[in-house]
């Protein structure tokens, strides 16, 4: 019998394996430094995690209907999925957008689409997460103006902007500009949020995509926290006080199959971030030490074969996230290896969270898995290995240098290739794929996005261009380009341009003239 593939060479763990742990120094009470057990004393006894299902498809009208549906069924926060043209800063009528409009998210070309997206949804009451990175500052500006048009002032806006460009270069690869001007846009938006949007998370530093690209749990943790360090470094260099913005940094992790390793990863994330913020950056505000995070179950573990099994996978991953003390959660739908979820499967995914929250007793006691010899030992090992990676990246000169050298990208590729080989050799079992295979047809009903979405979106965009004031739009874009050449914060210029109904594509093309575009070296 080979050793377990779950990284544990030993049959069991006991008191000697946690002998070096000091309760106050390394674990602490829930709500106390270093927050290993959770960032709040009461955790889910006080308030459940936010159930935040990521969704968006087709047009803004269609997605608005899905949001209202989810809110009616007890979802407690919104999370916008944009389509690929929007994520890449392209308009729906760009030749490169052909065939992609509204396919894996909602198409947003201008403020007008943003207004429709949140029509009838009170932005002073709902918190909205927006998964957008390269053009994040543009979409943030649109959201702020859309709220303002509802009569909601900026300081009341709640939500999260993903705004994490580093993991795009590392893993998800939806970039526009080169790293340095991209980092400038991130810092501009973090600074703007720290001044104007006190209840808004200016960034969601994400390991999710790193893991989906095939990394290990340790790599996910290490690269994410090292990205966090990079953002803090840049903000501090801009002259910001660490405690002025760090409380609004948030994180986003994956919850994968290896149950205990995932719980350990979440606990290690909190401890390691708290130590980093306190020791490396001298943060004094407790809120700067807290690693608040969203979790999504692992899309890459879903199988096309026997799709109902995916409900079980997702449930286990969700339990790990809850035992790991997540602050909000997305559970994947069973049909996501096929297509975007239908209304029915999206509902089952939400119900999964509700069953855990209201029926299972998981919420009765804070960090109920804490104190397990195995888990505490594993938490330390995951943390130690992550620290090694972070030190190595420090030694390379920081994350941007590491990215330019292709280091995190290669580490992830190697891990993903190792996993694929293990699955093909059946060292790693995937139920229904390489073991317990059946021939039964398993085709679920799937959501289809037809070409009519693209046609309608393009028509709407052309109408907008006829109706808006072209002179004001050109002036706003010129002004934006000029500001981009200085070191002024671009947020007021972006806000002005979106208010004039300049489109995402027009704004990003203007910025490309100044910033250039990123070309990935082949690794």
């Amino acid at each position: 019998m080979k050793g377990s593939r779950f990284g544990s060479a030993r049959a069991s763990f006991g008191a000697p394996d946690v002998a070096e742990l000091d309760y106050r120094r390394d674990i602490g009470e829930p709500g106390s430094y270093p927050y290993t057990r959770g960032i709040y004393p009461n955790m889910y006894r006080g308030r459940l995690w936010t159930m935040r299902q990521f969704s968006g498809h087709g047009s803004a009208e269609e997605t608005n209907r899905r949001y209202r549906f989810l809110l009616e069924h007890g979802q407690t926060g919104l999370s916008v999925a944009f389509d690929l043209p929007t994520l890449m800063g392209l308009d729906s009528d760009d030749p490169l957008s052909a065939g992609e409009v509204g396919k894996c998210g909602v198409a947003v070309d201008s403020l007008r689409d943003m207004e429709v997206l949140f029509d009838g949804i009170d932005l002073s009451r709902v918190s909205t997460s927006m998964t957008i990175n390269a053009p994040a500052a543009v979409l943030l500006a649109m959201y702020v103006v859309a709220a303002e048009k509802q009569g909601v002032v900026a300081r009341r806006i709640r939500g999260t902007l993903q705004n994490d460009i580093l993991k795009e270069y590392i893993a998800q690869k939806e970039w526009i500009f080169p790293p340095v001007p991209s980092m400038r846009l991130v810092v501009d938006s973090i600074q703007f949020c720290s001044q104007q949007l006190p209840r808004y998370n200016s960034i969601s530093i994400s390991g999710y995509h790193i893991r989906e690209a095939g990394s290990t749990a340790v790599q996910e943790l290490a690269f994410t926290l090292r990205d966090g360090v990079e953002y803090v470094d840049w903000c501090v260099r801009r002259g910001m006080e660490v405690d002025d913005f760090a409380p609004r940094l948030s994180f986003f992790f994956n919850s994968h199959n290896n149950f205990f390793e995932e719980i350990a990863k979440f606990r290690a994330a909190r401890r390691l971030w708290a130590r980093t913020m306190r020791n490396r950056f001298g943060a004094r505000n407790e809120r700067s030490w807290m690693c608040r995070f969203h979790t999504q179950t692992a899309g890459c573990t879903l199988t096309m074969q026997q799709p109902a099994n995916n409900i079980v996978r997702t449930t286990l991953q969700a339990v790990a996230a809850v035992l790991g003390g997540t602050n909000s959660l997305h559970t994947n739908a069973l049909d996501e290896a096929w297509a975007l979820p239908t209304e029915e499967t999206a509902k089952i995914a939400l119900r999964t969270q509700q069953v855990l929250a209201y029926e299972s007793g998981l919420t009765a006691s804070v960090d109920p898995a804490g104190g397990s010899y195995y888990l505490e030992n594993l938490t330390c090992r995951v943390e130690d290995q992550a620290v090694e990676y972070m030190d190595r990246i420090d030694g390379m000169g920081g994350m941007i240098d590491a990215i330019e050298a292709g280091y995190p990208q290669r580490e992830i590729q190697d891990a993903s290739y190792r996993e694929q080989r293990a699955i093909e050799k059946e060292d790693q079992v995937v139920v229904g794929v390489n073991r317990f295979v059946t021939d039964e047809p398993s085709r679920p009903e799937i959501l289809r996005i037809g070409p009519e979405v693209e046609d309608a979106q393009v028509r709407g965009l052309r109408a907008l261009r006829r109706e808006r004031n072209e002179v004001s739009v050109s002036r706003a874009l010129r002004d934006l380009c000029q500001a981009a050449r200085t070191d002024r914060n671009l947020m007021p210029h972006l806000t002005h341009a979106v208010r004039e109904y300049a489109t995402v594509g027009e704004i990003c093309s203007s910025l490309k003239e100044v910033f250039g575009v990123y070309q990935e070296p082949l690794f």
Binding site: G99, E100, E174, S416, Y417, R443, L522
Partner: protein, 130 residues
């Protein structure tokens, strides 16, 4: 069969940046002794067809996870026909539901490998089909 090593172009058309699968397939084909050219991300159909002809490849493997497969495969098959290059075999993979496969095969796409496919199946397929 000749002794010439198979030359395969692995390409990511469209805006989708999810290259995990493309890179795994490229590496597995290389490990199996094939010559593999990987285009990198966001290649237009025109660029892909041009690269395939210039590199004189035996097959093109397209990876698409964004749902834009119908549009992109269609365009690439059309361009290959225009260039009189339909002797180049086209196969693909990604998030492509069952019911789209017959339509893609009708366009001339030789095979589609869905999530959970083994790289060994892809290698076997290429060794037989090319």
């Amino acid at each position: 069969m000749s002794n010439r090593r198979l030359r395969i172009l692995i390409a990511k058309p469209g805006l989708d940046g999810h290259d995990r699968g493309a890179k795994i397939v490229a590496r597995a084909l290389r490990d199996a002794g094939m010559e593999v050219i990987y285009t990198g991300l966001r290649q237009t159909p025109e660029q892909i067809v041009q690269a395939a002809i210039q590199e004189d490849v035996d097959a093109i493997g397209l990876s698409i996870l964004s749902g834009a497969h119908e549009h992109l495969f269609n365009r690439i098959m059309q361009l290959l026909a225009d260039q009189d290059a339909l002797d180049i075999l086209v196969f693909g993979g990604g998030i492509i539901p069952d019911e789209d496969i017959p339509g893609l095969k009708k366009l001339g796409v030789a095979e589609i490998f869905q999530p959970g496919s083994s790289t060994r199946d892809i290698i076997r397929f290429l060794n037989q089909a090319v």
